[in-house]
Symmetry: D2
């Protein structure tokens, strides 16, 4: 199959789409992004790469980072993790507190904000220098030392992230946060402020398509753990649009409000997209369409 | 891989498991089933069959029938279906009314009771002789005319299924039920009262593993529709345990309170189990364990 | 104080109010009522009567009947009642099922539909000829044998009251309905289809202002029970507008979708209004305004 | 009526009650209180006072302070208040976030924590020296300059009040908090840390029984506003036990986790109790019983 032609076609079809959604505007650093940016990158498990558009341009990966932090925490504390966070879809927007309160401070899954804040708490407890060590982990996965945090984005979130402070305080009130709230959220806001390009994201997510082994063949997490992480991405990666994404695209994946999506077919490929316009559920509008076209045209989905 | 040995081992390991869960008791016909019954059947896409235990014994398939009725309705009315029912996991038990009320009578997905009752309504509208025609469809899929309804079970549910009557009335109050409530529920209770063995179920679910084609190579639904049905099974097939099933087993599937489970790996195999003891979420306890062991031992899951 | 002048003034002020709300339209019998009908009746505990407008015209009392059926059931089974229904405001619209499901079939209070259906069930169990006996009770309270059911209204509700059927089935599924669903709802729909005028309603509600004694000085329920019924009216009589009614009017009372309201000041007076246009919460728009004006002008509220 | 004898009898009956409930223990300063403390004070509108037990001993008034802060805010900004907070019972525990989230940051009423924090925000905006000015207001109402904050209690709450921080952050995220979170909560925690005796509380609440005029006959708020405050106390003063309190006692009132209750009969009397053991809903167990006995024995309730 001529994958380059496939993604070129998708790119051309969607590039001039009129309704591109809305760029996230809650912090100035995200609001300034060009709505017309659009990139796709495909990395086959055999190593071949295909890209089109702004695939090399870095953007704020935001919630996509939750999968990376989860993989690190899972490899560090193993199944102990699941006493503090569930693996069920929430059926609710990403930042809701309602279920968290009704379920006594145990977040439904690690890919909604509440769950990711618990994961951040685990990493703050387990890592010597949390921010530095986590950055090293992402750089090692990707084999790329240019990746770094955007400190302005992290600061902006700290000033305006009242809902995340509400969530962290609620977790703390239920005894499901070991460390100081400000420390945990400082880590969390930095993690979300990682900047990566589609190409870099594909390299980072390669371990999830390759049974836990990175590009340099180092085993970061076990094959059995990767299977479980992929299951979580499939059922919980798109908040209250997870069912739609499974239905339309049929790949495990994760989106971020920066407009990025990383998805993968275990044993086959990683595909990443970036288009900053979001739909009403907060997922990249063109990115979701691009992935739907890709699995439809190629017939390559897990279902 | 010696699949016969794999399922034999699983059978032997689990057969004498002490905690077998609880047999569904809300109608006398289900309550009388032997808690020790246990069968597994594996059907590869290439046609090979492997079975162990009570794989030939018929049981009440109950909610597993929802996938079959959904496939029929989807093939009849195509995407018009999705204006009346969603494709998102509910995060709630199978028979809850709360979300249905809060979301104005549009069920979250077709595999919870509310959604399946909407599907039943579609079939009552579309089929000339709904009960007869649906039975013919299941027999044709399976190539087995011995399959039939258990009329006593259907009658029992009609007498005691107050929650389903509540759901149907709520749907009607929101204008999401075209036909008479009693007619729709009569169809629904019969559909759930189908009796099949693991072997028969594997044959019926073969179309979902084989891109829409049955054993005799007839195309019942399109490959693209099958992809979507499998996605729905994965995200919604086990109610509020869907995330757990994806996490532990990693296959699209559907359970029933009769103790059956049908699961599949697209392009690879169908696997069915029957063990009447249920866990607290209403899914077969040994069946779930058997499937988790199967995908762990063989490494064959979609993730 | 010149009460006649007070209510005349209120009547004149409001009579030509432009926004009169919307007449309930879910059954044809209610939809046909004249939106301009407007009546007020005031009955002092000392026996003096004052009325203005259509105070003698009968209308469908609908949910106002819930207080009458509750008073009968309370006098029959005493405090046993409270094991089957609570006394807390629901904070939800009158016909919601959500709380009922979450609280295992125990309605929050007897003045929402679910609670009133439980009360209907109690009366069906306790009364020999429920519909006849209840009618006798209301006629006796009022000392007026012309009061009767509107059978057409009752029939209409039976044909279209899907939400009430949903509620009754849900109650039944939780074991909180002793009798047959159709029998209970037949009683309930008749009870709601009582037709009374403001004058008649004031006479019926006289017992709640007079420590349980009717106009002819017969004790129907104890003073202590009346105190509790009044408390329930105050906290629960206007669904999710109960707080507003207490805040604006400051009297125990009950509204119905027929546009009637009955309110009272214990030891002082009963005041009833009828204006068929409803506000968005389903309470009579002019009626609520009239009562607010009355307690503001006279300074006579329980607060 | 011999009120002294009535309250003596109640005191004697309840004093040795075995089940006294549980003293609030979430901060050390409250946990240390003697479970056997018990006081009642009755102040008639004509000036007569009756007391028994520990009626002169100061305790932490906690949430009872919400009525005092509300009265101050209401008198300062009038009906503008109601664009930021509702007047409906919540049907939920005092510190729940769920409704607040679902209703877009508008608290149901000013007597649950979320609502009281909004009121605190209003006072922080309106008062020059919020803590000092509010204390002056309470001292003036009571005509007693010995009343003061317990600063240790306020500090303890600041250290452990994660749920209140969560609420304040959630309010802020919805734009319903004008001032800095720490400033508002500092005021709120001090307000709750006021220490008063039953006798002092009765004097402070005298304005609500006396149409807005204090003991020295100064008008603090209008009679119409007092009517509304009393309505809010009746429907919302006891969280999800408000209906029960209306049903059993039949007086507007407010409780605090310090074990105090202040209740009143407009135009008649104020009655206050203190007994630190709480029931499961967080209201003083003996206090509620004492008030129920009082209105039952004397027949003096608003219903």
């Amino acid at each position: 199959m001529d994958y380059q032609q496939v993604i070129n076609n998708i790119y051309t079809n969607l590039k001039n789409f009129e309704n591109k959604g809305t760029v996230a505007s809650y912090i100035p650093e995200l609001a300034g992004v060009d709505i017309n940016a659009f990139g796709i990158h495909l990395k086959l498990i055999n190593g071949l790469d295909f890209s089109v558009g702004n695939a090399q341009q870095q953007f704020s990966i935001q919630s996509i980072s939750k999968v990376l932090s989860l993989s690190k925490a899972f490899s560090l504390v193993q199944n102990k993790l699941w006493s503090r966070v569930g693996v069920e879809p929430s059926g609710n927007p990403f930042n809701y507190l309602t279920l968290l309160e009704q379920e006594n401070g145990i977040p439904r899954n690690p890919l909604i904000n509440a769950g990711a804040i618990v994961i951040a708490d685990v990493l703050v407890s387990e890592l010597k220098n949390p921010k530095e060590d986590f950055l090293k982990y992402v750089r090692a996965l990707t084999n790329d030392d240019r990746i770094t945090y955007n400190y302005k984005v992290a600061q902006s979130e700290k000033r305006t992230g009242f809902k995340n402070f509400a969530i962290a305080n609620l977790l703390k009130s239920f005894g499901n946060l070991d460390n100081d709230i400000d420390t945990v959220l400082d880590f969390y806001f930095h993690q979300c402020a990682l900047e990566m390009s589609c190409v870099q994201l594909s390299r980072a997510f390669y371990i999830f398509a390759n049974h836990g082994k990175c590009l340099k063949n180092k085993q970061y997490i076990s094959a059995s753990q990767v299977k479980r992480l992929n299951a979580i991405m499939l059922t919980c990666g798109f908040y209250d649009e997870a069912g739609d994404f499974a239905f339309d695209v049929g790949l495990p994946g994760k989106s971020g409000v920066g407009g990025g999506i990383a998805a993968l077919f275990p044993g086959n490929f990683v595909i990443t997209t970036w288009a900053p316009g979001l739909n009403q559920k907060g997922n990249s509008l063109l990115g979701m369409k691009a992935l739907e076209l890709f699995t439809t045209k190629t017939g390559r989905s897990i279902f």
